[in-house]
Symmetry: C2
Amino acid sequence: MPPELNLRISPRTVQQETVGKLRLAILSGLFEPGSRLIESQLCAQLGVSRPSLREALRSLEAERLIEIVPNRGPSIPALSWSEATAIYEVRELLEVEAAGRCASRIPTEQLHELERSLFAFEEAASSNDSLAQVMTAADFYSIILANCGNPILEEVHRGLVARISFFRGRSMSLEGRAQSSLAEMREIYESIAAGDEKAARKASKRHLLKAKAAAKMSMNSES
Amino acid sequence: MPPELNLRISPRTVQQETVGKLRLAILSGLFEPGSRLIESQLCAQLGVSRPSLREALRSLEAERLIEIVPNRGPSIPALSWSEATAIYEVRELLEVEAAGRCASRIPTEQLHELERSLFAFEEAASSNDSLAQVMTAADFYSIILANCGNPILEEVHRGLVARISFFRGRSMSLEGRAQSSLAEMREIYESIAAGDEKAARKASKRHLLKAKAAAKMSMNSES
DNA sequence: CAACCTGGATTGTCTGACATTCTTGCAATC
DNA sequence: GATTGCAAGAATGTCAGACAATCCAGGTTG
């Protein structure tokens, strides 16, 4: 392996690198839902040893991005509509609260960051790069969660982000969904920028309702 | 699909066994907060190899029961009062919702289970076994979460249980806290048994408020 | 056709090893 | 005397290889 320029403060370990790559691969839809992951294959593809890979898999298991059944190994869980519903309900609980709190306490610097992330999503929305749409949308919400004043709320939400992104990827593929999503997110941003807690909660709730409906359509239309 | 009763004997792997034992050890307060865990020592004490132990540590890291810093290894995080506050706020969000949902949909069989767990806590409350108090209280809530009709809500809550138990252990050591906690939990149970969603939410909220106050006292009195 | 058996594939687990990084105590310097 | 620098020891990150237990598919047998 060639020595790569790495000025990063925290040295990324092989384990972390592996988790990152696998997470991205899964979110990109590289693996079929329900399919099994073969350790030896992944080792070869990623160029890491089995112990390192297995540690990475444990981390991904905790994120619920994969399932590990004893003696059967890791596999990509097939997410159903009922799970999607459950996730949207919990999202509502968490994100509405976060948006509300955020409105009354976000510092101006972070508010600008939030605005930038909205622009980034805007750009992605007009492209056809659905992965970029998913990632920038996730950024937008992660900034809100990071500034809600409750690190645990943020942490809990982060544990759902992977699966949220999965469903987001599907609904974004619907005609026009990205654009209307953009409008809803802009409403959220405006409310937060105005420091209007109530409006932020409402906008967030509205956004989730529509996202849920879109997700339902995208799931019905295929499975 | 027939209502699959869970007859599956889950073959506990070494990894799972290790996670279980370490989790219990941490919750029992066996390790000093802030102290580092030495892999080789744990291997010797648990009688497992380093790869298995390291996988177990990754799982515990995901539960936030330990922290793993690259090149420094695992350690017990020192929980602060500000984190406790954040956790209680999120608990309120989750548990109030769960108790409310539970009230309108728990099957009678599970209701009996809930009652039994309340009795178990009652017994523990009159003893001085604080670990038993913590475990039985956790059982009580886990039954509520398991019957709220939203598996994601349950999962998210389970991710907090470890830290909840940590703070619960401290507040339970306060004179009379276990008994008043019992009374509050009985209220929750009664509301759920009556199918009164609103009352269940209120009782749950009240319980959390008092638990929070107790936790604050227990933390002020020492650190 | 069903039940059984067998061989290959895959995972669970261990041992042992080595490079890298961190810690700590001591010495040297100002 | 305090700070800096360094070196030995400890601990972690990572790998390779091995073997038993388990699962799965396909063929065999009744």
